[in-house]
Structure formats: C-alpha cells, structure tokens
Subunit: 224 residues, 2 copies
C-alpha cells in the first residue's frame, strides 16, 4: 500500500462525502448556442429480448461537463489522452463570482477576498450561477482575458467554470489560449449551483480518447 497505512485509507473511504458537479448527458440538455447538431443521441443497438440492453452514443466532445485539451485551440497543443492525469485530481477551491456581471475581469477578482486562499497546484472552480442551468444563456458570465491572465500566473493545475464556455465575445479566444499556454486545461459546464464556495478535493478524469480535442467527464467534489 505504499506509504499509506491501510486503516487510514479505509477510514477515508468510509468518511467520503461526494458532491456530483456534472450535468446530465441527455437529448434535451442545454448545449452551446442551442445548436441542434451538438445534442447527444443515444440509440439502442440491442435489447433484453436478444440477451442484453446495449446502445451507442453520438456525442459532441464539448457538451455538458467536459475538459478541453490544449489542441482545442492550439495547433501544437496536446490532445486529451496525452495530458497528465494529475491535472484532473487534487485539492480544489470553489470561488464565488455570482455577483460578476457578464464577465469576470481582474477587478472582479481583486474584489474577491477568497482569491488569497489559492495555493500552488490548486484546481480553481469559478461559480457564476446560483441555480441549475435549464437552458443555454447567451449572456453567460465568462472569464475575461484580464481574469485569465491572473489565473495563468498563479501556478494552478486546472480551471473550471459552471457556464458552457469559459469565454465568449473575444474574437481571438484569448482566455482559452492564455490558460492553455500555461499548461492549464479548462473544464466547462460544471454544475456548482448547490456547492458552497470553499475547499474540496476534485476528481474529473477525461476519457482516454486518442486525438481528442476534449472529453466529457464525470466531475465530483469530495469532502473527507
């Protein structure tokens, strides 16, 4: 068991409290700009009368709760299966930006006292909504370029947001690129409406999709 005594490990397992922070993958889920071609489809390929229920899923990689790989926006960026898994698991801080209007700028960040609690190698999640997403909001709160620069300078592992995108209305996709160039993958489409800002343990591993520009994930926060 390496360095961890067995008894301790069992203790952690028993004491886990899990918060599911993932959107459901369903045909009627909200998708970016309500594009029909982004909706997932689940098709039965076999049923119990023939021995088993089986099905096939047609899935846009950028729907619901998903991780963007660097290749999404950078020609020479890593695809999803090549990004180290350590990025997607670890100590996490949920920051409250529900009061930010339209976008999170460096000024919104400076006004948020909790940013002082960010530590090296943290996973940072931005909460912008207080209720579950029922439909796509064209005016969703995004992380503006100046905000992205702030977090890119913080030696964080990963950043996430509860909107279906981390940016909009920035022609050159600066927010994505600023973060990606600092080796920070992006999680979009989190469901944080019931999560209190504060510190947790985050798990949200991407599928091992060869050449994937993104992956849907099941994301959770754990308290031990």
């Amino acid at each position: 068991m390496g360095n961890a005594p067995k008894a301790k490990l069992l203790y952690f397992t028993a004491k886990m409290k899990i918060y599911d922070i993932s959107m459901g993958i369903r045909e009627d889920m909200p998708v970016y700009k309500n594009k029909k071609e982004k909706k997932p489809e689940l098709k039965a390929t076999r049923t119990l009368e023939n021995g088993a229920n089986e099905s096939k899923l047609i899935l846009d990689l950028h729907i619901g709760t998903h991780a963007d790989a660097f290749f999404h926006m950078l020609a020479n960026g890593k695809t999803i299966e090549k990004i180290q898994l350590e990025k997607f698991i670890g100590s996490c801080i949920v920051l409250d930006f529900a009061k930010a209007r339209n976008k999170i700028t460096i000024n919104d960040i400076k006004r948020n006292n909790s940013i002082k609690k960010i530590k090296k190698n943290d996973i940072v999640l931005l909460k912008t909504r207080k209720s579950p997403m029922k439909k796509f909001n064209y005016n969703f709160t995004y992380l503006e370029k100046s905000g992205a620069e702030y977090f890119a300078g913080k030696n964080i592992k990963l950043i996430g947001i509860d909107a279906l995108g981390i940016e909009r209305d920035q022609k050159n996709h600066d927010t994505h690129k600023i973060l990606f160039r600092k080796n920070i993958p992006i999680i979009e489409g989190l469901e944080l409406s019931k999560i209190k800002p504060g510190r947790y343990f985050f798990i949200g591993l991407p599928l091992k999709i060869k050449d994937g520009d993104a992956s849907p994930i099941r994301a959770i926060l754990v308290e031990w």
Copy 2:
C-alpha cells in the same frame, strides 16, 4: 473543509501516485468479438482555421474500459446515471488470477490466498492477463457462475476484470445477473497488466448518461 484538516489534504495531493488502468479509445482498439460496428469513430466537426478543433465521437457504450449498469441485463435494473457514485470510488484489492485457465471458478478462488484480504465494501479487480490486450481473445478468462456467487456473497461494492467481458459461454448471463442482483456493478476492459496485485484506491466514475446501460470510464488506481 468538513472534518479533514487542510494540511492533510494537501499532503495527499502531493503524494499521489496514479496508475492509469484504462484502455485507449481509438478506432483500432480491440472490441468484443471483433465486431466492426463496435469500433468508435471520431469525426472532426470544426478545425482551427475556423477558430477551434472540435469533434464528435460515436461510441458503443460497452467498448474499452467501461462500467455496466444493472439495466444492461435486468429489465428493472438501474441505468448508469442512477447508480450511486460511492460504488465507483474507494478502497480496492487487485487479485491475481493469471494462472486460471479459461475461467475463474470457486476452486480457483479457494486456491488464491489473497481472497482472505477482501473487506466489506471493497472494490475487487480480477487480473487475468500479464500483457496488454492487443487483440480480442475469444478464449478470454472469465468469471464463471460459481465464482460470481462467491463475490456476490462478500458485500463488495464493485467488481472489475481486465477482459472485455466478465463472462462468455454462459447462455443465461448468470455471472452478470448474480452480481447485479446483489447491487454490484461490473467494470470490464481494465488494463491491469502492469499492476501488482495488492491494495490501492480505485477511481472510475461513469458518465452521467441518462438511460445508459453502461458508460465508458477513465479508471485509475491511486497510492498515497
């Protein structure tokens, strides 16, 4: 931070050793009985010249490393998004059955001294191969009905195997049903060839696919 002191949590994050035990999702991956219709397809829907690399994945839910939901074999069984997440994370034991021929029966189990180490609520992973799966093996080692009955009586959380199926050649799919009726989901297609038998912490969360009979997962073992 609930009951766990912050310093302890940071310690765990820093000391993590992660073993990826997932198969890659790729068009040339081995699939059950080499059925062409089971191979995944990744199709680009947008490229960088248009602002971003994006794509769509067509995915049989039972390929590679995946979790079977009870609905896969039981008419009234839960679909994947309804199974509690606690099942898919926790203390885990990897058992060596590389010497079992064709199938793991109750006799193979009784001959394995490590089975005494199984604890209530464990996640049990069966290792049957010593090298990575390069192609589908029609004679893969499976968990025979008598073996399934043994594990079903053990109050375990979850069971997994490194073959693409947990059973074959049992007309009524007894192994699946015996385990499912005891509320034990099944992980198939693990990649355990480089993993030493013993105790670990397992994480392998299914996607939240509405009405899913299964889900691909990214599965890892962690040592702290």
